[in-house]
């Protein structure tokens, strides 16, 4: 059998929400001695398991607060799950938060190399991708301009260009992005489509049933941290629509 690109096994994630505000160190010590420090446990994810095969486009659905973002962050390695494990085979490029490590004092050029290094790519590799990134982001005029003078749209374009140009084998997409104007959005979608046809594994989060139906073959539906159903796209969409 083929090894899955992403394998999520019995993942649970707990957050501690402190219930009452502790005002000072004295109160803290007194309460700690009395054994009165309570945290409200909040399970953002509860025993979630699924596999994503290489080349598959997998949808993650659920209402707000269902734990979608937490799940994606765990897969991207930002959070460590409280219980369970995640195995990833391949290079992940998370399109969750673009432009990690962007520094507004530095030029677009410097930031491309820095951003690449954050994903673990050496400068030599980034150099080969440099032209493609600048072409895609349409920022040649601003190559040496400090990022603080960029508009938010320009910044987003640059982030997207870096994250997709490095040719990851797994792409995590949180909503088809609202980056830039409609022209650029169309370009982004086209690029993601191209990557899908090149066999990149995609994990897609969306609220739009239409998008998910169009793009995904399988999906998972979460509700309050639990898996409601997982599998064939029609069944999942049906379950989501019914609720």
């Amino acid at each position: 059998m083929e090894t899955p690109a992403i394998s999520v096994q019995n993942v649970s994630m707990r957050f501690n929400l402190s219930k009452d505000k502790i005002l000072g160190i004295k109160e803290y010590v007194v309460k700690a001695l009395k054994g009165q420090i309570f945290y409200e446990e909040f399970w953002a994810l509860n025993d979630v398991s699924f596999d994503v095969m290489p080349g598959e486009v997998f949808g993650v659905m659920g209402f707000n607060g269902a734990g979608k973002s937490t799940l994606l962050k765990i897969i991207a390695g930002v959070f460590r799950p409280t219980m369970g494990s995640v195995t990833v085979n391949g290079e992940i490029s998370p399109l969750l938060e673009l432009g990690a490590g962007f520094d507004s004092e530095f030029s677009a050029r410097d930031n491309i190399y820095m951003n690449g290094a954050m994903y673990g790519y050496p400068p030599q590799f980034m150099e080969t991708k440099y032209e493609e990134i600048m072409d895609f982001a349409e920022l040649w005029e601003f190559e040496d301009v400090a990022l603080k003078n960029f508009s938010s749209g320009m910044m987003g374009r640059l982030g997207f260009a870096v994250a997709t140009s490095v040719r990851p084998s797994i792409l995590i997409v949180d909503e088809i992005l609202g980056v830039g104007d409609y022209k650029f959005q169309a370009k982004c979608e086209e690029r993601i489509q191209n990557m899908i046809s090149d066999g990149v594994t995609v994990l897609l989060v969306s609220h739009s049933i239409k998008t998910i139906k169009e793009m995904c073959s399988r999906a998972i539906l979460l509700e309050k941290g639990r898996v409601v159903c997982c599998g064939n796209i029609k069944d999942v969409c049906h379950a989501y629509g019914d609720e």
Binding site: G77, A117, Y121
Partner: protein, 326 residues
């Protein structure tokens, strides 16, 4: 085989004991002037016991968690470019927009040295041969330590934006700050050489060994920095406490006064300050042309390794929880 706490403790004690017995049988010429009196010998034995125990315990953990370590090494290999870029960025950011730029790296220690010389050699009139070189050597080591630890302490919190967005091995942050400080030390060394030539001090070949005390300080600072950065995430007050503590430490280290100022009875207490050991090592090499004996080296390396082991252990143990507190 799994590593339970009990087993870890047992193996550590055994290995420490073996290490010790071996040490006791070493000939005196290697151990240095090992005192005949038990009284002087005892603190050394105690020191060695603690150092060896900590280092051995750490090594055991490393050996037992081979997979974890292999994975860490793999990730280090992957992220070493990031480390390089971060150090470079620190350096570039530091002197951005200042007119003299990089020149400040050399100028700054020189100017501080001049002020200190003015105050302590001419107003307080300390009797020290070649005061400028004396003070600059103390400054070099001490500022390295204080800058590296202070910067490391803020590094994890300061990189919250990155940590929340993407997976990066967290130790990269204190490590990059410590290395940035090392780059600064190299510039201070240039200043040191200039002063050396200018005051007409005698060059000695032992000066070539200067990287050794700098290396000890590097290891020590890295360990302390990792520990502090980890602690600060959960306990922000550390920032202020450490500021006061470094000031105290500065006055406890003979940087601008001679050790002879301290009453004879208190000197062993001064000897407990690892920074004094490093500073002294540096001065022995540059000012007196002596190579410190084996015992001094054992003390310096031992303290540095202990700090590194404890710092790394605490850091690794807590690193998954940083994100919840940033």
């Amino acid at each position: 085989m799994t590593l339970s706490k009990k087993r870890l403790a047992a193996i550590t004690v055994c290995l420490t004991a073996i290490f010790f017995t071996l040490f006791l049988f070493l000939p005196e010429s290697i151990v240095g002037h090992r005192a005949d009196q038990l009284l002087l010998f005892l603190p050394k034995v105690l020191f060695l016991a603690v150092t060896a125990a900590i280092t051995i315990a750490f090594l055991l953990i490393v050996i037992f968690k081979k997979d974890f370590m292999r994975w860490q090494l793999h990730s280090f290999n992957r992220y070493r470019y990031l480390l390089k870029l971060l150090v470079k960025r620190d350096f570039v950011t530091k002197y951005r927009k200042s007119v003299l730029g990089v020149l400040w790296s050399v100028l700054n220690p020189l100017l501080t040295m001049m002020v200190l010389t003015l105050v302590f050699a001419h107003i307080f009139r300390f009797e020290i041969e070649n005061f400028p070189v004396y003070v600059l050597s103390g400054q070099l080591i001490f500022n390295f330590f204080s800058e590296a630890t202070t910067q490391s302490m803020h590094s994890v919190i300061g990189s919250g934006g990155i940590i929340k967005k993407v997976y990066v091995p967290k130790y990269i942050f204190p490590l990059s700050k410590t290395l940035s400080s090392l780059v600064n030390v190299l510039f201070t060394l240039i200043a040191f050489l200039l002063v050396f030539i200018f005051t007409g001090a005698e060059f000695r070949w032992t000066m070539l060994l200067v990287p050794i005390p700098i290396f000890y300080t590097l290891i020590f600072s890295l360990g302390v920095g990792m520990f502090l950065s980890s602690l600060t995430v959960f306990f922000r007050d550390m920032t202020y406490l450490w500021g006061v503590f470094t000031m105290l430490l500065m006055f406890l280290t003979p940087i601008m006064y001679p050790i002879e100022q301290i009453p004879e009875a208190f000197r062993p207490v001064w000897g407990l300050n690892p920074l004094f050991q490093f500073v002294d090592y540096f001065r022995e090499l540059t000012l007196h042309g002596n190579i410190p004996d084996l015992w001094t080296n054992i003390v310096c390396l031992g303290v540095a390794l202990c700090a590194l082991c404890v710092g790394t252990y605490v850091f690794m143990k807590k690193q998954d929880r940083y994100i919840l507190y940033i």
